[in-house]
Amino acid sequence: MNPTRKWRRTVERGAIYAILTIFALVFLFPFYWLLISAFKTQGQMFAMPPQWIPHPATLQNFSDLFHKTNLPRAFVNSVIVSGANVFFSVFLCSLAGYAFAKYPLAPGRDRLYNFVLGTMLIPSAVTLIPSYMILVRLHWIDSYAALIVPGLVGAFGIFWMRQYMIANVPDDLINAARIDGCSEFGIYWRIVVPVARPALAALGIMQLIGSWNNLMWAFIVLRTKDMYTLPLVIYLLNGENTQPYGMLMAGGLLTTLPLVLAFLFFQKQFIAGITSGAVKQ
């Protein structure tokens, strides 16, 4: 390669690194702002020019938050709701996904599968009111079940599990276990689940994020303070005219942190999960 071309390439690559780095910093900036605002007083938050590093830093927002809201309780509620949602959806979807992937001869299999998949097209906005009415009938309003159960029926989980199992769980493995006298549920539990672990993790993290962040449904079905989840507590701090930004930021930081850590930990699986839908198209 001649020197001018090499030099041009270096400049080009340098420019790309620069642009990517600037944009990455811009995209991360709101998180930085959340982090430092949590340690600022209301006055510091609106100071001009802006304070890039809180000086002096205060812990007042956190102590206000723990005095005025029941944050530990909300945290526990969020953990219970998200945990149950993740566990049950991964279990139900992997079991049904396995059945759809590995019992090709069952009558009506394809028709049932296509039917479930077809409902993916219909947005949850359509079913919002009837779902709410069912929860009223079942006397589930203001309960954990109201937050956990309706979120379990997404068709995406089945689609994703079926795709993964067709591609990654060998029929020979299943047949060998069957010949060895393993029960059908035993095959699912002891063979299929361990092999499909990456897919289970991907679905789990997707459910976790959706359920941890869920605001609208919590807002609709929860009534008493003891049942509030983290996003709802944060949202309802918001007054009519004045907003307690200090507490909002402190609470926001505590709500966001566990999720960011979970994402960084399971990043690979999560991305594999969301891209599976697009590649199929």
Binding site: R13, I16, Y17, L20, F23, A24, F27, P30, F31, W33, L34, M48, P49, P50, L92, C93, A96, Y103, L105, A106, P107, L112, V116, T119, P123, A125, V126, T127, L128, I129, P130, S131, M133, V149, L152, V153, I209, N213, L215, M216, I220, L230, P231, I234, Y235, Q243, Y245, L248, M249, G252, T255, T256, L259, V260, I271, I274, T275, G277, A278, Q281
Partner: protein, 306 residues
Amino acid sequence: MTVEIRKAASGGLWKHRHFYLFIAPFFLLFAIFGLYPLLFSLYLSFVKWDGLTPAHWVGLSNFQKMLGDDQLWTALGNTVVIGLLYVPPMMILAFLFAQWLNAPWLKFKALYRAAFFIPCVTPMAVIAFVFQLIFSSEHGVLNYALQHLFPWLHLSPIPWLESESWSKAAIAILVVWRWTGYNMVLMLAGLQGIPADYYEAAELDGASKIQQMLHITLPLLRPTLAFCGLLSLLGTLYMFDEIFVMTNGGPGSSSTNFGMYLFQISFDDFRLGYASCVAYSVSITVIVATTLMNRANRRALDEGRR
């Protein structure tokens, strides 16, 4: 003897009972929280109901009402404007990021990818408040940055959240920030599906980088781009959390999109029959439109191959 009769009666069903057992738990919940709401909502489209007093049948009058519902048309108009404001910059950024992150020589890929992607996993109930701080007209860091980065423009503080003409732009910025990384990841997967020899062959034939992009990358990425477009369309229409927390649809109804409007008529006004009718009509229209677009897209692809 009985076993044989049972087998004969149920054909393959008994033989494949494990299949039905395994899908049963999902289908039970699906029937209650998926299928029943769909049918019930269809019924509600033809009644007038506030959720408390008995519903009464009104036939097609809900559908008639939609035509004259100015708020609905305003919300749909806002949806289109918000979409036009954010989709092009988001898609262009996502495409460029994906293109660069796909380059074999780039280092720190995981770091860049995480930085762009992480906004879409964070709770909107939190992030919208952070953006309220950033967008504050007199004390916000965005206006401060704009005024100091471009001093020669002599910008006066932009009332991002206080004015009817800027609120849509504020929502658009928030959405670009939140969903660019998601689209980037989808496009990255699409790009990785294009065989490297195509580019090597083009390179040998002396095709420039721009030509390679126009004649290899874009045509082969078309299905992915169509998928991203579809997600953006649905995302804009049904977007809720972003708007609910940051502007609550205001000032006035300037940032009320379709999702926000649907929520208001359902859970503020309790016009449950009418809300179901609106939700159904718009969703069906969108499904029909996307199916037609999808077909046209396929046909164009097939003709391109011939």
